[in-house]
């Protein structure tokens, strides 16, 4: 049935159909290289589907990191970035409109580790640890509120300074603190002269608590120096480059502190500042005067500061008001309380900073564009004003003192690792190295009976009980442990009854035992090779080694160690053998003597002890 029609319609018909054939053929040609089976790792809790092993071999991964982070539980992309779903090289590695996380840079990989290891850092993460330390030491959280980072408490309260600080010193201090004290952590705010004047006016507006009256006569600087040595001030204070870090450097105190304030401070520091760590020394007025003289005369920096002068006339209220405003705007109140109170913080929160993309952050007006978040933070720390734009307010970020490019980068790592949500708890569990804390229903039971009040578990738990839970899964037999939990019996006769009767039900006991056996294994015990032994020879060894000097068996022996009557039901065979092979190391409290016998003999002894229930029953029968 060929339609009689115009030729052009036939042409169009045939053309469109041939075009369709060609297009479908093209699609089929594009499909030619699809593998028959795509190997993938699906880690559902992380939302990870990784097909990296289409090309890469996880067994070839360098280092030992995969032993503790097996790919079947962690996948590849949580550490390496890239698009795990992809099956082509380009889509897997590069950035594309529909995938914004390309392969991670080396420092992004460090950040990936650190964003899970939020608490303590493993040794490979020294840079992150250094960054986190610096974050706390430099008081970053004073301006940038950050979950888990406390606002710094080391900066002094600045209310009522007019008796305490000289205007000349304060001016210099505000300009660059490190000119006066090179090791101080106060950042530099790049203030204009009028801003400094306003702040000085504001800070020196009020006096603190009333100072003691300075005695009429003056002290002797040399005797003062001796007194400072006698009192061991250098334990806490630095003097001439030596001494502790608890209090401020005394070498520069002379230019800062007036005599009356120093005197009052030495007599009773708590009266001036209730929260100070400075102890109250019981010193005579004479000695105090001498120390004051020493500090005032000798402890003046060389950098040409003017020594203390009397007040330069009354403070202008308007200027002080301007200073107060500036104090808030600059974020001084982030670190320094005023009369015990701290104002709102000035900077942005750094929570979830690690979730941001460096492309979304401001680009510096000078200097290179950062490749990753850590580099961006480093840039901001080293050159805060590099991001200022003409016509917009200047950055309030101060210049942090003595930050090397490396430290800035480490700070960047620490900041970039601030990320929510926290890693799922199971990520850190069931690792063969450390003991696993319980979760779910088991955790409820452990919580209810407060097992960890008495028992140790890893580094947690109390020390009342002699048996730590760590490794118990490799030591005790399940059925015995279940019975014991429900109705505890005394194992160590000489130590009396210890374990309370909690009324643990059978299902609860079962759950606890399952948890202990599946997570609390001792790798050393698990590694012991067991085998058939000669129970007869074991008995002979038992006698020969004088085991009855400590153990009771069938009513014979001393009650120094645990009763051995039911040891075959209580202890796991490889644990019994491990006691002979490894000695005190594997025994709780480490009290068992190391019995030096061959592996074969150890097997024989184990065989004898395992057969004991039968033997004991037989003995009773006689």
């Amino acid at each position: 049935m060929i339609p009689r029609h115009e030729a052009w319609l036939h042409w169009l018909f045939a053309g469109s159909m041939v075009a369709l054939v060609a297009l479908v053929g093209l699609a089929m040609w594009q499909e030619r290289e699809r593998p028959a089976q795509v190997a993938q790792r699906v880690i559902a809790p992380l939302g990870v589907v990784d097909r990296c092993e289409l090309c890469h071999d996880a067994d070839q991964h360098p280092g030992k990191i995969l032993d503790s982070h097996p790919p079947d539980r962690f996948g590849c992309t949580p550490c390496h970035g890239g698009q795990g779903y992809a099956t082509t090289r380009k889509a897997a590695h590069d950035r594309s409109p529909d995938w914004q996380q390309p392969l991670k840079t080396p420092s992004e990989r460090l950040v990936a580790c650190a964003s899970c290891h939020q608490g303590s850092s493993p040794p490979e993460q020294a840079d992150v640890a250094a960054g986190r330390q610096a974050f706390a030491r430099l008081g970053c959280a004073g301006c940038h509120p950050t979950t888990g980072a406390a606002r710094p408490d080391f900066a002094p309260d600045l209310s009522g300074l007019s008796d305490q600080v000289t205007p000349g010193w304060l001016r210099m201090w505000l300009q660059t603190p490190q000119k006066l004290d090179p090791r101080h952590r106060m950042p530099t705010f790049a203030l204009q002269t009028d801003q400094i004047e306003a702040l000085v006016a504001m800070l020196l507006e009020r006096a603190g608590p009333k100072l003691l009256a300075l005695p009429a006569h003056s002290g002797d600087a040399d005797r003062g120096q001796q007194a400072v040595a006698q009192l061991r001030c250098a334990t806490c204070h630095r003097i001439d480059g030596r001494g502790g870090n608890v209090g401020p450097d005394l070498s520069i105190a002379g230019s800062k502190l007036p005599a009356a304030w120093l005197y009052s401070w030495l007599m009773d520091a708590r009266r001036l500042r209730p929260a100070t760590p400075m102890p109250k020394f019981c010193i005579a007025e004479e000695q105090a005067i001498d120390i004051v003289a020493y500090i005032r005369e000798q402890c003046v920096p060389d950098s040409g500061t003017t020594p203390w002068q009397e007040r330069e006339g009354p403070v202008e209220p308007a200027l002080a008001e301007k200073g107060r405003q500036l104090f808030g705007e600059l974020g001084c109140s982030g670190c320094h309380p005023l009369a015990g109170k701290r104002a709102e913080v000035a900077g942005i929160t750094l929570d979830n900073f690690g979730e941001r993309r460096v492309e979304d952050l401001p680009v510096p007006t000078r200097g290179p564009v950062a490749a990753d978040l850590a580099a961006w933070v480093a840039q901001k720390v080293l050159k805060p004003d590099a991001f200022d734009r003409p016509g917009q307010p200047r950055t309030r970020m101060p210049l942090l003192p003595d930050v090397s490019p490396k430290l800035a980068w480490q700070l960047g790592l620490a900041v970039a690792s601030l990320r929510a949500p926290p890693p799922p708890p199971w990520l850190r569990q069931d690792t063969p190295a450390g003991p696993a804390m319980p979760n779910g229903k088991t955790a409820e039971i452990v919580e209810r009976f407060q097992c960890l009040t008495c028992h140790q578990l890893g580094k947690a738990g109390g020390e009342v009980a002699r048996v730590p839970l760590t490794g118990v899964g490799s030591r005790l037999q399940g059925p015995w442990l279940e019975r014991f939990l429900q109705s505890p019996v005394t194992v160590r006769m000489n130590q009396g009854e210890r374990m309370p009767v909690f009324g643990i039900t059978a299902p609860e006991a079962q759950r606890l035992v399952h948890w202990l056996q599946s997570t609390q294994a001792d790798a050393r015990i698990e590694a012991v090779q067991t085998g058939q032994g000669d129970a007869q020879r074991g008995k002979w060894l038992y006698d020969k080694l004088f085991c009855d000097a400590c153990h009771v068996l069938g009513g014979q022996g001393r009650m120094e160690g645990p009763n051995l009557d039911d040891v075959g039901q209580r202890l796991q065979p490889q644990y019994i053998q491990a006691i002979f092979e490894l000695g005190a190391d594997v025994v709780p409290e480490g009290r068992h003597p190391r019995v030096r016998i061959e592996a074969a003999s150890a097997r024989d002894l184990t065989a004898y002890l395992l057969a004991l229930p039968a033997a004991a029953t037989a003995a009773q029968g006689l």
């Binding site: 045939a14 159909m17 041939v18 054939v21 499909e31 795509v38 699906v42 399952h514 997570t519 294994a521």
Partner: protein
């Protein structure tokens, strides 16, 4: 003006293309229907640490669908999937197994005692993974006397 023969020829090309298109579509549909990925559980099923299986015990690991038994020579894992129609068998008090679907009975080493099951329950290879945990490989049957030494 095109001749009728020529028109005829063009029409034939068009209809032939339609036929080719039909074949292409059918073939592509069949290929589309089978994506080469699987989100189901892998055939290597984790069993956990060796300490989970006390010596002399038989433990049913539900997630893996195997019975794990341990004796002095080591560990072995027996499939819990009935060889008849794939139901999961249950352990009996006497150490044997029975299938709840059609009543096949197996003894404690998986040999068929009665019922429609055509073959004994297979034993499966048990290996350690990188983290030292045991895993059973559902695709690799091993002889009944082969055990994995776990020390």
């Amino acid at each position: 003006m095109t001749s009728p023969e020529r028109r005829n020829f063009i029409w034939q090309i068009g209809t032939a293309a339609v036929a080719v298109l039909g074949v292409q579509s059918a073939w592509s549909t069949l290929r589309y229907a089978r994506a080469p990925v699987s989100y189901g559980p892998t055939r290597r099923r984790p069993l956990g640490q060796a300490s989970r299986f006390p010596r002399g015990s038989v433990v049913f690991v539900a997630d893996a669908g195997v019975f794990v038994s341990r004796d002095s020579a080591g560990i072995r894992a027996m499939s819990a999937t009935c060889t008849h129609l794939g139901c999961t068998v249950r352990a009996q008090a006497d150490g044997g197994f029975v299938c709840p679907c059609h009543g096949s009975r197996y003894d404690k080493s998986g040999v068929v005692l009665s019922g429609p099951a055509p073959a004994p329950l297979p034993f499966l290879r048990v290996q350690r993974d990188r983290g030292g945990r045991l895993q059973a490989d559902l695709d690799v049957p091993v002889p009944a006397d082969q055990r994995t030494d776990v020390g």
